[in-house]
Symmetry: C4
Subunit: 215 residues, 4 copies
Amino acid sequence: MTAATRDSAPPSETEGTDRGLERLVFFSDAVIAIALTLLAIELPLPEGNDDAARWHSLGELFTGEYLSFLLSFVVIAAFWSVHHRLFQRVARIGSWIVRLNLLFLFTIVVLPLATRLHRQEGAEQVGVVAYATVVVAVGVSLLLLLWQLHRAGLLRPDTPPGAVPGTARALAVPVTAFAISIPIAFVSTAAAQYTWLLPVVVLLVVRSYRRLRRA
Amino acid sequence: MTAATRDSAPPSETEGTDRGLERLVFFSDAVIAIALTLLAIELPLPEGNDDAARWHSLGELFTGEYLSFLLSFVVIAAFWSVHHRLFQRVARIGSWIVRLNLLFLFTIVVLPLATRLHRQEGAEQVGVVAYATVVVAVGVSLLLLLWQLHRAGLLRPDTPPGAVPGTARALAVPVTAFAISIPIAFVSTAAAQYTWLLPVVVLLVVRSYRRLRRA
Amino acid sequence: MTAATRDSAPPSETEGTDRGLERLVFFSDAVIAIALTLLAIELPLPEGNDDAARWHSLGELFTGEYLSFLLSFVVIAAFWSVHHRLFQRVARIGSWIVRLNLLFLFTIVVLPLATRLHRQEGAEQVGVVAYATVVVAVGVSLLLLLWQLHRAGLLRPDTPPGAVPGTARALAVPVTAFAISIPIAFVSTAAAQYTWLLPVVVLLVVRSYRRLRRA
Amino acid sequence: MTAATRDSAPPSETEGTDRGLERLVFFSDAVIAIALTLLAIELPLPEGNDDAARWHSLGELFTGEYLSFLLSFVVIAAFWSVHHRLFQRVARIGSWIVRLNLLFLFTIVVLPLATRLHRQEGAEQVGVVAYATVVVAVGVSLLLLLWQLHRAGLLRPDTPPGAVPGTARALAVPVTAFAISIPIAFVSTAAAQYTWLLPVVVLLVVRSYRRLRRA
């Protein structure tokens, strides 16, 4: 395959790659940091004619727009954590990694747009489906990155054998939950949004199970 | 504790951590830099039909919206300075540091929202309480970072013994001042905002005392 | 020439240049990352009174504003990739490189403005011409950077002889396509926009040809 | 002086400073990059009912809002260049450098606000005075940084003796031009704005003189 061939080019052709890798990571961080910060920009403020009305309005925002903002912050932060851990294992990069990483950044840049759509009043079905689709796209682009890093032998030799399948599983859980929520949204948008909490449940169950096994 | 165990993992398991630490610091800087710059985006401009009216309008902005912007700039810059000095002492990071740092970044991202709420006319009580709460949250998240770095032994061995309690004290002063202002705001929002100047007073008193002791 | 003389200053005068080069690259990345993320900020959301109307509205956005956003993302990402690969070959920088890079960043900062103009309804001729002009300006500024790096001998000694003409050709293709589209836009804006797809066609043809030659 | 004493602390107390210096530079770059990119965000687009009207509108923007944007881009880029060259000479930093750099960043963050005010129609006197004041503040904060770096001995030992006075002169020219324009603006805002071109004139004269002297 062309991709694999290019990415596994001999060291002589990949000189300067260290700087290239560092810059790729840096550029990704800048894009993610901006997407994260922009989430809060267009959030509405509580409104009302007196303090009581404004406190009430604030309470409503917490169960609506602010909750949606929190969800997107957690989603971006979680994907950043995976990207952060994954790239600590990367030894070299190739042109396909650059492209897949740009695809990943594209999905990250689209996420604040999907967040706006999700919190827009009265657009429930479109908003829920679009949001879930973008989250799935972020996760899938990271899975593609992981897959290409693995098959082209770009990970550091000291990467433990369990790291790749472990990361794949960590990504598959939210991808599956958000993918399942898409057809559900056409029946019930509320049910679809509860599905998004599934990864948290799975995480808690897995942890309890491991703790029990160790004990 | 799981947290401590993970964070104090043996060197063999934390290879690549240097790059991870650098990236964490970098990512934090990008988020803080954006939050800082966004503070000025939505500031109103002086208005009026002639020069005299516009100069008058500018004067009013200086004691209102522009003062509020200056306060938030100083608050974010001060917390960045603490983060900057603290992370120069960090030797390694673990997954709990990543999470606590994301919590810190969350509070930083929310601060421009709280600033907008604070400077919104007529929302005094909600604005003052929300602003003080977010500042307390920023400080507490940094205190949690400091505490976890200390207890999991992630600071460099050459960290002077006084550095951790010194940083804790430096954070405790503004956290206390803003925390005290929250109940005060329900009685008088003006008094609550004067309380925010307390850290400056404390700083000046401490410095004069030290200068006297040395002399 | 003054430019060449300054840029090829002896090592003794360019100490600290490594940090200067790193910072130039970093600063460029930050500007490009922000321009990339800002593209999505002002995108409109689907509107309508019921789900069917909103799905229809979303479909229309995909062939209009969202397509325009995707185009700009691809354009900025492609130019970033060229900048990324080019600067891996750079050994030293001089004051002319700093200036030409600032010119490049200027064109990048203007691109989101041109994108907004391009997607503004009813401004077709102005929008198409302005957009094409800015893309040409981005490409030309990168060509100037490449030319100055080459003539002042600032590239690493291990740069393969084909790297400079190869990068020049990779830049010349989109620059030519967008330049040709400018006069075309005064006759037909639709035809002008189809011209923008030319680089993709050229790329595919070149690749097929190379694959055939190798086989 | 306390400042000098702290900044010239013995090496044993400034361990980890390398990372601190790098981070300070990085943080500054991120803030400057965002300020630079934000300049273009709120620029108006040409308007009109047909192509002719829109081309005319675009022409007017070029001599108004777009020219103001270009000016601010050049101003921020020029100050970034000075900061970039200055920090290549820095060996160590201290707490006063961090504070003065934050003051510099504050003036940079305020510049887009001053730009908006400057290009706001009908606010000529306030806009011109505010803009010139902020540019003076940016320059003065950089002069303070230079002065503190010099007096506390934080520059690298290999800094040529002419570098500090050279940088001071390079900063003094625009600072003087913009400072002179402030009183002029109360008589004629047009004359004040022409004064801003003075640094370009001075630069050209100095260069021609040097070229003649060399010949």
